[in-house]
Symmetry: C2
Subunit: 337 residues, 2 copies
Amino acid sequence: MRKQGAAVGLRDIAEMTGVSLTTVSKILGGKDKLFADATVARIRQAAQQLNYRPNAIARNLRCGRTRTVGAMIPLIGYFSHVLSGIHSTLFEHGYAVIIGTPPKLNTASDDQTEAQVIHQLIERNVDGIILRPSSEQFERAYFDEIWQRNVPLIAIDRELSLFKTDFVGTDDEAIGAAAARHLADLGHRRLLFIGRDDVQTAELRGLGFRCAAGEVEGASCAHFVGAGQWQEVASVMQRDDRPTGIFCYSDAVAERLITRLQEWGVRVPEDVSVIGAGNTKMVRELTTFDQQPYEIGKGAAQLYLKRINEDTRAASPTIIRLPAILIPRATTAPPPA
Amino acid sequence: MRKQGAAVGLRDIAEMTGVSLTTVSKILGGKDKLFADATVARIRQAAQQLNYRPNAIARNLRCGRTRTVGAMIPLIGYFSHVLSGIHSTLFEHGYAVIIGTPPKLNTASDDQTEAQVIHQLIERNVDGIILRPSSEQFERAYFDEIWQRNVPLIAIDRELSLFKTDFVGTDDEAIGAAAARHLADLGHRRLLFIGRDDVQTAELRGLGFRCAAGEVEGASCAHFVGAGQWQEVASVMQRDDRPTGIFCYSDAVAERLITRLQEWGVRVPEDVSVIGAGNTKMVRELTTFDQQPYEIGKGAAQLYLKRINEDTRAASPTIIRLPAILIPRATTAPPPA
DNA sequence: CTGAAAGCGCTAACAC
DNA sequence: GTGTTAGCGCTTTCAG
């Protein structure tokens, strides 16, 4: 007599059907071709009847595979779509996703928290980790823990500088180029990029923007990054020959810009056109780029699955940069006559 | 000699220090008070040196506890904040969160997918499940699987009708009441609620709205729910004595309403005031309620921790409804003279 | 204070 | 086709 409430296991099915535990394991484990049809049917039925669910924990302990991956990626906003893509794709393949987002704890420093998260994932024997690097020079120590244990690592959104890993992100240069061309097509010639100098994605977008701008007949292109950029913006926007087409590397920056422009009495888009990136719906009707975050997540999951099937850590990393889609809305228009 | 690359285990530490595996287990497991300080120090040091990480899988198999909870809750938008609250709180207590969001699969029906998700969680032996019911008459069969196995279940946002469980959500009636009072305070007397008849939260908000409206001197309150509500809105807004203060049960509905009002040439807030709920930033400057989703997640996690510590499923369920905070913005104003 | 032995639920090698 | 045995890495009696 089993303890009341205890989970039903292979043994229960074996006892019930008068067959050995091993046989049950094999049949329910998919190796049913080796057995007599009658036995298979009998086992299957008993399993169903007892409402048997395999114990993944036990299975994993034996096989050393957990079919679980850790996702170290923000939960909010843009990245929630990435996570959704990761989860859906992995779920279809029988994998579970365990959240490895470093929470904002009031007790510990960020570094400690991040290390703790990695410990948690390692202790739970995740088969892989999908990571959006929180900073680009991610602490080497954290990674060694992952690297040494040979856990496949897929980076998202920003490439890691210290380790060469598989990567899925946005084609940032192409975004910049497309922004410049969109403005140029509308007739703008005095262009401005507002970015940052400490974020990879921002730099690449600026690069693409300037390159494409350089190919436009008669275009000039300014470029403000880093601390003090808002003062620069403020001063340049006072001038008669101020830029009329501005590309901000993110929607958040575009929003701040538009707020300021309105304060200065500059109308958008009549006087100045503004483009953002991310499609994060912060400002209504902002012309922006949809970076297809769900697809990025899906791509990362697929890359992961490919990686573990090949089982070759040695193979050179795959880098995928997905195109973003321009969404023209109400903040871009031809320049004033 | 251990196999190259294999994880270091208790045995390795035992061999290294010349002490028994059991002793190592106990010391590293926190029962260090029972041992000689010298031994404890020796073991600790060896563990550090070998970079030992306990294998949670093995531990769990032995103890029957996984310190993992499943979160069956949407990943996007409002609920991503709830998830964040759940994750942060549980993480502080050593729990991991595994994603149990039913993904939109193109192959299976929703019901099948939901069942599969539950199987996945059960098979991984989650210690509990935090759920935002996707429909209110959630299929009984799914739950029996959870219920029978005695897995603590915490509901979020909407109470389950079939099972009495712990619950954390918003004080929906209070939201409705506060919306009515806000409009009344601004001077509105002809009020309107736009809701739904098949969603618990919407109904409760409507109830609170009407009750509070009833207590306002000279106020009248209409109430549109269910199919055909937009036709009703359209027709009532033509009239001379149309409502001047409207409360929509969600931001999404408020957004749709404002779009329509603008099409009809009705100005917001000069002619009509509109309030939403959720603070989902869909429309800029919408007067709405912040439902404190992070706090709701945190509350659910705390309730879960309390529940497993008591270990009494028999105890009556705890129901928590957190207040929402009115955020007055640009879509509410005094009525036209 | 410390250790030997049993066993969590399952899979995999190797018999018959 | 089916059963026996060993053991994944750990915790937990129970015995010194």
